[in-house]
């Protein structure tokens, strides 16, 4: 009797998660319906304008901001994380390995608002003074593409700063996943490689990396999901400007920064458009995670 009661209660608790998630999907859908009805789904996605006066809201720019900042963040974070993981498993003196490894895992737990605040007060001003002029004077001189690397707005809060803060934020996560994967490589494989006369680098590239590639790919994709949905780190430094992206050093918007900045003052069609952005983010995140799960499952 008691047993059956307890079983029902636990079942209800487990099912409640399904209810919450499906309720979330249904609510986001019904809230964004007015925007989809008004603009049409594909027109909503493909419209660049976000104009309060004319009541035109399109997802293209926030979506582009989210995708571009995530891609730049991955491009910056993945090589640095892999290098750090190689250092931690192959080069670092034994006595320091555990300590540095744990420090990196702890850094992955620091709340994103801290990264955002640091980005706003320390990192973005640093980039504006030291990095942007450097890029403007080199890449900015390129014919045709040069305009995309020139500084047009002061302040240092722009799409590129946001991408780099994201990179710093996901780096500890990718590093610790990669390190764990490297540590799983059986010693006998590495020793065989050394026995054949390989150098350390050849062993890493030809033996360790191929052995770990699916785990690393899965980890990178999970990190990508985090970067897509990250709000506070981005909202501080992206600059929040509804306008065409004329340079990576221009203030811009992402899905999450639009939500964080406009949600509490929005009403009517604008509110519905913001919910539509949330729905797009929700679906994109699910797709990305399903992909990661699929890759990681294929391995085992």
């Amino acid at each position: 009797m008691l047993n059956r009661l307890f079983k029902t209660v636990t079942l209800a608790a487990a099912v409640s998660l399904i209810l919450i998630i499906s309720g979330m999907a249904a609510t986001l859908w019904s809230e964004s319906l007015p925007a989809f009805r008004h603009f049409g789904f594909f027109r909503f996605i493909a419209t660049a304008d976000w104009n309060y006066a004319r009541e035109i809201y399109g997802a293209l720019r926030p979506l582009a901001g989210t995708v571009i900042s995530t891609l730049i963040a991955l491009a910056a974070a993945v090589p640095v994380s892999l290098g750090t993981a190689v250092f931690l498993t192959e080069l670092c003196p034994y006595r320091l390995r555990a300590g540095i490894g744990m420090a990196i895992e702890l850094l992955a737990a620091i709340p994103s608002i801290i990264y955002g605040m640091w980005g706003l007060f320390v990192f973005a001003p640093f980039l504006e003074i030291w990095f942007q002029p450097l890029v403007g004077a080199s890449l900015g001189r390129l014919p045709l593409l040069g305009f995309f690397f020139q500084t047009r707005y002061a302040g240092g809060t722009n799409l590129f700063s946001a991408a780099l803060v994201l990179a710093v934020m996901i780096m500890p996560f990718i590093t610790s996943i990669t390190r764990d994967a490297f540590l799983q490589v059986p010693a006998i494989l590495k020793e065989s490689s050394y026995g054949l006369g390989s150098t350390k680098w050849e062993t890493i590239r030809e033996v360790i990396m191929p052995y770990c590639k699916t785990t690393i790919a899965g980890g990178v994709i999970i990190a990508m999901g985090r970067a897509l949905g990250e709000t506070m780190a981005v909202a501080y430094v992206v600059g929040n400007r509804h306008g065409a992206l004329d340079s990576i050093f221009s203030p811009y918007n992402t899905i999450t920064s639009v939500m964080a900045n406009e949600f509490n003052e929005a009403a009517g069609l604008q509110m519905s458009a913001i919910f539509a952005l949330a729905l797009v983010l929700f679906l994109a995140n699910f797709l990305v995670l399903a992909l990661a799960k699929h890759i990681l499952r294929a391995k085992t």
Binding site: L11, S16, L28, M171, T231, M232
Partner: protein, 281 residues
């Protein structure tokens, strides 16, 4: 020999590059900690904990007492909702429903729910608990945090209970104990440390959450101990103060950021210590 020299050179170059990457990555991360520490320590004082917010023009006055209390209240309410649901749900996945398809589905869904962007959760809770209610309120904030906790606790509970060997359960069954008794007096006891660690990490996770509170419990300059009104929280205060143009609000934001960071790091270290002790003992 020429070939060998080239390979050695390549090796040295690649390893140096990795060393540089590590130096860059590690120094960046330690610079963040250093900046939070430097700015936090220089602006922390007792007023932070003992006074409510004051107008920014009033120099040398004002703190975030309300936000500390509010954050505690929100966390407590979120745990009261989230932990029972999570632990019971995890129990179903690991025990009663361990062979059922629906358990597999809930388990996978939990893994994915852990990574749902928290701002989306905030928007969802706004639509179901804030707009119908008419104003920002503490229950909505607690619900948003609970939705973040539940999948985390479900998954750790499931994993920790799966670690308990079946032979122990069978020994209890052989004594004639019904299943719920086996779960309560044998499995929960064996898995308690692990489940507790999971809950600690969940607390650490929601301690830093800002985005879901922005649309739900929002913020307030007072603390009324009423969950049906806006409830202040540290993270939302940090968000608003850091973006303000006032010197002393910004330094309050740094001080609060320092406290939040220390709290989160301490919880994580505590969780690790508990896991280590259990592995040894």
């Amino acid at each position: 020999m020429n070939n060998l020299a080239r390979r050695k050179l390549k090796n040295a170059a690649a390893l140096t590059l990795s060393l540089l990457c590590a130096a860059l990555g590690l120094s960046l991360l330690f610079i963040i900690l250093y900046d939070v520490l430097k700015n936090g320590v220089s602006s922390i004082n007792w007023r932070l904990f003992t006074e409510n917010p004051a107008p920014p023009t009033l120099k040398g006055a004002g703190g975030l007492k309300n936000a500390f209390l509010g954050q505690g209240l929100l966390t407590l309410a979120a745990l009261t909702i989230g932990v029972p649901v999570g632990v019971l749900g995890g129990t179903f996945l690991a025990e009663y429903g361990r062979h059922l398809k629906i358990s597999r589905a809930v388990s996978i869904l939990s893994d994915m729910a852990i990574s749902i962007p928290s701002i989306v959760i905030g928007a969802f809770v706004y639509a179901i608990l804030v707009r119908p209610w008419g104003n920002f309120n503490g229950w909505a904030g607690a619900a948003a945090l609970a939705i973040i906790i539940i999948p985390i606790v479900i998954r750790t509970t499931e994993d920790m209970m799966n670690l308990v060997p079946w032979t122990i359960r069978e020994a209890a069954f052989a004594l004639g104990a019904p299943y719920h008794k086996v779960i309560f007096s044998v499995v929960y006891r064996a898995a308690a440390g692990g489940i507790f660690t999971g809950i600690l990490l969940a607390v650490a996770r929601i301690a830093g959450e800002t985005a879901p509170l922005l649309f739900t419990s929002f913020n307030s300059n007072y603390f009324k101990l009423s969950m049906s009104d806006p409830v202040p929280s540290l993270t939302v205060s940090i968000y608003q103060y850091a973006a303000s143009p006032y010197e002393n609000w910004i330094s309050l934001a740094w001080a609060a950021a320092f406290v939040v960071t220390c709290f989160v790091l301490l919880l994580n270290i505590l969780g690790r210590v508990i896991i280590k002790l259990r592995v040894k003992g």
